[in-house]
């Protein structure tokens, strides 16, 4: 693996609630080079909170701690909010799940992309527009000039998600965090969006963290997979070796999905063991 881009050691995210502390992430460690890493788990496993903590988007009431949380040698937990903001959207970018909610509904797609760009780089309006259009082209939007002037509600989910990818890539980030980037899309559109993401990540040599609940999808897309359960990493495995996964949770997740051509009635279900969470 090439040089380490992101180093996460013993990351913890804790939420204070009325009934006491909720430990959403409990000591997650991994490192990432310029590769594609998948984080998989069920809802509540802490996978999204891990991504958000790296991005610096943890809600203010929650507490983030780690022995080490470093991006390209920068200690993310000790820098000022201002420095963090300069990184966010510039060198670290994040794609969210549903373009319907994550794009600004009262701003045209083009303006949103230009805004991202001009927040981080000193470029003229004309130059920013040119780059935004080129980016829309890169995510295979056929008529970039038309889409540039559309509002998010005027485009389909797949198109919206491409626009989001364009917005995130326009600053040329080194690390991209994609949190369920295709779960809100139709299966056929999913593959198109993944193909675009895959191509751009490979061309630009970015590091990618792909967060999803779909173990099979992640394993077909990523080089390495981190499996999370109850806020902890239960297994780290090469995607190509997933079939030899050791942990019963990983195996259970792989098995419980219906597959075309593999008749199993009833479907195997996960027999959750309390010790997995320990």
């Amino acid at each position: 693996m090439s040089d380490t881009l992101l180093d996460v050691d013993d990351l913890r995210v804790t939420f204070p609630t009325r009934t006491g502390l909720v430990h959403a992430v409990r000591g997650v460690s991994f490192s990432l080079g310029r590769e594609r890493l998948g984080i998989v788990g069920e809802s509540g496993s802490g996978k999204s909170q891990t991504g958000r903590a790296i991005m610096g988007l943890t809600p203010p009431q929650a507490e983030v701690s780690a022995r080490k949380l470093a991006f390209d040698g920068i200690d993310l937990l000790s820098i000022s909010p201002r420095q963090r903001r300069a990184l966010r959207g510039n060198r670290i970018a994040m794609i969210l799940q549903d373009p319907k909610y994550s794009l600004d509904p009262v701003m045209t797609i083009g303006r949103q992309i230009v805004e991202t760009l001009r927040t981080h780089e000193k470029v003229s309006k004309a130059e920013a527009r040119k780059r935004a259009l080129a980016m829309l082209q890169a995510v295979q939007i056929r008529d970039p000039a038309r889409v540039f002037d559309l509002y998010p509600h005027e485009v389909s989910g797949g198109m919206g998600q491409r626009a989001m990818i364009a917005m995130m890539l326009v600053t040329g980030p080194e690390l991209m965090i994609a949190d369920e980037p295709t779960s809100a899309l139709d299966v056929t559109v999913q593959l198109d969006v993944l193909k675009i993401l895959d191509k751009l990540v490979a061309e630009r040599g970015m590091g990618l963290i792909f967060i999803s609940h779909d173990l099979r999808l992640v394993s077909s897309f990523c080089d390495r997979v981190v499996v999370m359960y109850a806020g902890k990493v239960v297994e780290q495995i090469k995607a190509s070796e997933l079939r030899d996964a050791q942990h019963p949770y990983t195996r259970g997740l792989l098995n419980c999905m219906p597959r075309i051509g593999f008749e199993r009635h009833p479907l195997p279900v996960l027999d959750r063991k309390p010790e997995w969470a320990e």
Binding site: V187, S220, P266
Partner: protein, 248 residues
């Protein structure tokens, strides 16, 4: 075998948008029938039209031998029940499960509520202990079990399922699918199930219809689909997509 649901030349129009363009369908009694397609294909509209949640522009719907008119009678709603996609939206947040399950019984004037509620909760694997809880105290999978219990409590013969597991985690999805199969076997129910996931439909259904843009693309048996014996390109695309991402 007799037909349980027959739909002929069904048209549904919202303002000027034709959501269903002359769809015909025929589900046999005791059969499990699937509807697949992308969003906007009209698969959910078809279900909603059968229950009377969307207006019929033209065409006929026959359920258990009775052709449906503009309004449906009480007996229809006792015989046909629906489970919706999102268990977070389909259960009243301020009612206990007891109250939720009481509602259909009260509407239909059924007396032995006590027993039925206990039995319904047992049947979906929740147990009596859940009876006086609120939906917000339950997980997504548990909520969907409640929605299934509510549908079953009137002892219907037809269950309409609109993406019953797409809001759930994969492992919980397996549990709910198993539960649905089990109640179907036990009660000899007819299923009409909508999903965007071909794998789920082939797992659950004997026959299926692929839909696109408000029209039927083709009708297949599950084994035809498994053997890739499909004739339309659209279905082939769906099949390819369901195999996951392949790097070229």
């Amino acid at each position: 075998m007799t037909a349980s649901i027959t739909v002929e030349g069904l048209e549904v129009v919202f303002d000027r948008f034709r959501a269903l363009k002359g769809v015909s369908l025929d589900v046999r009694e005791g059969e499990s029938y699937g509807l697949v397609g992308e969003s906007g294909s009209g698969k959910s509209t078809l279900l909603r039209t059968i229950t009377g949640l969307a207006p019929v522009a033209s065409g006929t719907i026959t359920v258990n031998g009775k052709t449906l008119g503009k309004t449906r009678d009480k007996a229809f709603y006792r015989d046909v029940q629906m489970v919706f996609q999102d268990p977070y939206g389909s259960l009243h947040p301020r009612q206990t499960l007891d109250r939720l399950l009481q509602e259909p019984l009260a509407i239909h004037g059924i007396a032995d509520g006590e027993k039925r509620i206990e039995r319904a909760l047992d049947e979906v694997g929740l147990g009596k202990g859940f009876r006086f809880r609120y939906a917000h105290q339950l997980s997504g999978g548990q909520r969907q079990r409640v929605a299934i219990a509510r549908a079953l409590i009137l002892e219907p013969s037809v269950l309409l399922l609109d993406e019953p597991t797409s809001a759930l985690d994969a492992s919980v999805q397996a549990e709910v699918l198993n539960l649905l199969e089990e109640v179907r076997r036990r009660r000899k129910l007819t299923f009409l199930m909508v999903s965007h996931d071909l794998a789920i439909i082939t797992h659950m259904c004997e026959r299926l219809m692929v839909m696109q843009n408000g029209e039927a693309v083709e009708t297949l048996t599950a084994s035809q689909l498994i053997g890739h014996r499909v004739s339309e390109d659209y279905t082939r695309n769906l099949l390819r997509a369901s195999e996951g991402f392949v790097r070229v």
